[in-house]
């Protein structure tokens, strides 16, 4: 028992077990905010969410607000929320394909919303379309032109994901949930891309052996940490990464280094 992962001297796991945080910044690249009609959240508004993520050392939480995704309020309101927590919050513009007018209006504000707006969020399944739907083209072309991150919800094997990745080779696609369950397809998306794909871990740190499989498949440099916050607890997510059977270098890449490589240290 003395050799368990939390007892490894000098390891990241030991540090977090003892202190609850470490001396490097964590980037949570997949967050939300706000209540959800079907799900209980203990915390879901900005002040308590920021307090929760800061406890474990999250430097940036990049999120899309639930209500902006449902279309019940606009990205401009999310920008105003970010301004209240400038040291922690960054936003993805929520792209609702049924509102092409809003997409154009909000993208026109993208530069004005710097430094808070860092990319786009697509939720194809929830919006009853796929990534190749022409209503996404304006937003994805914008991301492609700028080399912007696009966090896209994926679950299972959706052929449109790889097609879109290849159609917009300069956009930086963050594959949320790693095509959950279709792990080999997620790996394929990275391998057959223009080096413009990263796999994002939300919902996976609780699974047994999947982080290990993904690291083996694409390398830890291609994996990002995320929690769906306020869906999943930061300590649960980080706990799954820290206790995975991968090296501390891999864990640092996932939790901290990769977002800095993509967006810079001060995004």
């Amino acid at each position: 028992m003395s050799e368990c992962i939390w007892n490894q001297p000098g390891s990241l796991a030991e540090k977090f077990w003892k202190d609850g945080k470490a001396d490097f910044p964590i980037y949570d690249m997949h967050g939300h905010m706000g209540a959800h009609y079907a799900i209980y959240f203990k915390i879901c508004e900005a002040p308590e969410m920021v307090a929760h993520v800061k406890r474990i050392g999250v430097k940036r939480l990049v999120f899309s607000h639930h209500e902006a995704l449902w279309g019940t309020f606009r990205n401009a309101r999310v920008y105003e929320i970010c301004k209240q927590f400038p040291d922690t919050l960054r936003m993805y513009l929520s792209i609702v394909p049924q509102r092409e007018d809003h997409i154009r209006e909000d993208i026109a504000q993208f530069d004005k919303w710097a430094p808070y707006a860092v990319g786009l969020k697509l939720l194809p399944g929830y919006h009853n379309c796929d990534m190749m739907d022409p209503r996404y083209d304006y937003a994805l072309s914008f991301a492609n032109e700028r080399g912007l991150p696009v966090l896209v919800h994926t679950w299972g094997n959706d052929p449109a994901v790889l097609k879109a990745i290849q159609k917009y080779p300069n956009a930086k696609f963050f594959i949320a949930h790693c095509c959950y369950g279709a792990w080999d397809y997620a790996i394929q998306c990275v391998k057959e891309s223009n080096n413009n794909v990263w796999l994002e871990l939300t919902a996976i740190p609780g699974d047994r052996g999947i982080i290990e499989k993904l690291v083996e498949g694409v390398g830890s440099e291609r994996i990002l940490y995320g929690t769906d916050m306020p869906w999943f607890d930061e300590y649960q997510g980080v706990g799954g990464v820290l206790s995975a059977k991968i090296t501390d270098e891999d864990k640092l890449n996932i939790l901290s280094r990769n977002p800095e490589r993509i967006l810079g240290k001060d995004f």
Partner: protein
Amino acid sequence: MKDLMFFDANCRVGDFGNANPGVKELLSDMDYYGVDKALVRHNGIPKAPLSTNQEIARMLREEDPDQRLTGVWCILPNSCDEIPEPDEFFRQMKENRIGAITLSPFEHRYQPRRIVIGKIMDAAAERKVPVLLDAFAGQWDKLYDFLEIFPKNTFIYAENWGKWGSDRNIRPLLETYENFYFEIARYWVPEGVRGLAEKYGAERILYGTNFPAGNQGNGMLQLKHSGLDDESIAKIAGKNLERILKGAEL
């Protein structure tokens, strides 16, 4: 240093149509993550309740020399004489290091009502033998009915499907049934473990992982830094389940 005793309330082993991890893999993971003990049931219970009862007993006897594992047996209705009368059933459980029971009424095609399984359920209630509710995962209406019929039993809601996001269904059960225990595999609500423990008592919450689908590490750090006091964390990590199993009068 890992300073807590962890007792995993939600583990499955054994083949069930494919090559699932067995006791050897479970014990190896427990060593890696620092889990001390585990309550373990057989993967094949839904399709083979009687033979897997014997198989889990064999696994514990032959593959767990340090006795870190406690087994779970599945019950069937007494009417068909497929399992012994309760006194004999519980005697065999004790003899084979089996500490809890489960049931799978929907797979095994019987009604989970008093006239069907009342004899064994009432005996389990009297002896404080814990009953796992994994077969009711996400079937809230059936679970609510079942608990209304058997309000005095000791229950552990251990499963991997319907817990996260379901507080609107879970909390009334914690409020209503004092012997209803909640296991936290995949209960990933931010600050949620602390929230449940503060409202219903840390005594009602159990650490669990749903091995082999779930890893045992993520929930350990979630609990360790849940914000609860050390005593509450220790109870959830392992002391509660240890107390429940020791309290069973087999």
